[in-house]
């Protein structure tokens, strides 16, 4: 049920980035670019930590990582990624492995679209 809800969300809700760009007075929207770069550099490590926590069966740590990732992604309009994080944070333990795999796949799509967005700005 929650899975389906995540599927309905956009990989990258561009209007969120556009809204931030409108506010950005720095040359070439550098703050937005910086935020995207930070996301792309920090998130892979957070996901690796989540994967390690899964292997160690540290459910608390998995959910904590998911909470942080959810905020990170949502702020930049990676809505589907954020929704999957929400499922990991609140969903049943039995689904965690599948959800983490789903998140890893979604990340690849998000990263690709974010890179395109950065090219648009550069």
């Amino acid at each position: 049920m929650t899975q389906n809800k995540a599927q309905k969300e956009a990989t990258l809700n561009v209007s969120v980035l556009d809204d931030l760009r409108k506010l950005d007075r720095s040359p070439r929207d550098s703050v937005v670019t910086e935020l995207l770069e930070a996301f792309l550099s920090e998130v892979p490590e957070m996901m690796r930590n989540m994967r390690s926590a899964l292997e160690a069966q540290n459910i608390f740590s998995i959910r904590k990582q998911a909470h942080a990732l959810k905020s990170n992604a949502g702020n930049l309009g990676a809505d589907r990624f954020a929704a999957i994080c929400q499922n990991i944070e609140k969903g049943p333990e039995a689904l965690l492995k599948n959800l983490i795999e789903e998140l890893e796949a979604e990340y690849r799509l998000v990263a690709e679209q974010m890179h395109q967005q950065m090219k648009k700005t550069a």
Binding site: L20, L23, L35, H67, S71, N72, A73, L76
Partner: protein, 227 residues
């Protein structure tokens, strides 16, 4: 209304949140201070006395609830409005945050329009600033919301034009202060909050803390009686 020069403290352990909120607020000319944990936030709040504080709830070690508890015990900080910015959308968190004195609750993910609208509302509430007097007469220890029109400092004497909430302008001169027996005039401004009995040394800072209307009525009456 212009928010240029208003000050906002943002407390969040996540650097992306701090950066995003800063970007949003600075677009309105707001001066933003950033803290990545509660202790740093309390220290910055005391030294900068911002017009508004935006805090996260879920943080390692001390969390946003701890911040709200400590802030409201602190005489100098308790009147600064707080907007909670959190991903926690459960009723219990909202209820507790409001019970602990949060003025507003904004859900993450951050959306620029919503956050600005809420911040603007809280900052607008403070178009009247406050000035506190501590006189030698304990009964005359009062605070009032005033709009400072002009302020200057001559030695330890204070001169300021203040507009009371009733739209009446009062020259807050050394003479008036003497009439008020204000030997220990306490001007609580951004900097003097950390060291409240500042004898007007920081009067140029014009960054006062909002205080309630009932107390304002008392000083308004006293200013009329004694002028």
């Amino acid at each position: 209304m212009g928010l240029t020069g208003k000050t906002v403290l943002v407390i969040d352990d996540m650097s992306d949140v701090r950066k995003t909120v800063k970007l949003i607020l600075e677009s309105e000319g707001i001066i933003v201070f950033l803290a990545e944990n509660v202790d740093e936030g309390l220290a910055l709040a005391a030294s900068k006395t911002p017009h508004l504080i935006i805090t996260d709830l879920t943080m390692p070690e001390k969390d946003g609830f701890d911040f709200l508890k400590e802030k409201r015990k602190n005489e100098l900080l308790k009147n600064i409005p707080v907007i909670v910015l959190s991903g926690r959308n459960d009723k219990a968190s909202v209820t507790e945050a409001v019970a602990l004195g949060a003025s507003d609750y904004v859900l993450k993910p951050i959306r620029a329009g919503t956050l600005l609208q809420k911040a603007r509302k809280r900052l607008k509430d403070q178009s009247f600033l406050s000035l506190q007097f501590k006189t030698r007469r304990p009964e005359a220890e009062v605070s009032l919301p005033v709009e400072v029109l002009k302020a200057s400092e001559i030695g330890l004497q204070i001169e300021a034009s203040i507009k009371l909430a009733s739209d009446e302008t009062v020259e807050l001169s050394g003479e008036l202060l003497r009439k008020l027996d204000c030997g220990d005039v306490m001007i609580r401004t951004a900097k003097s909050l950390a060291n409240p009995v500042a004898q007007g040394r920081y009067l140029n800072d014009l960054n006062f803390v909002a205080i309630g209307e009932s107390i304002a009525k008392r000083i308004r009456k006293r200013l009329k009686d004694w002028k």
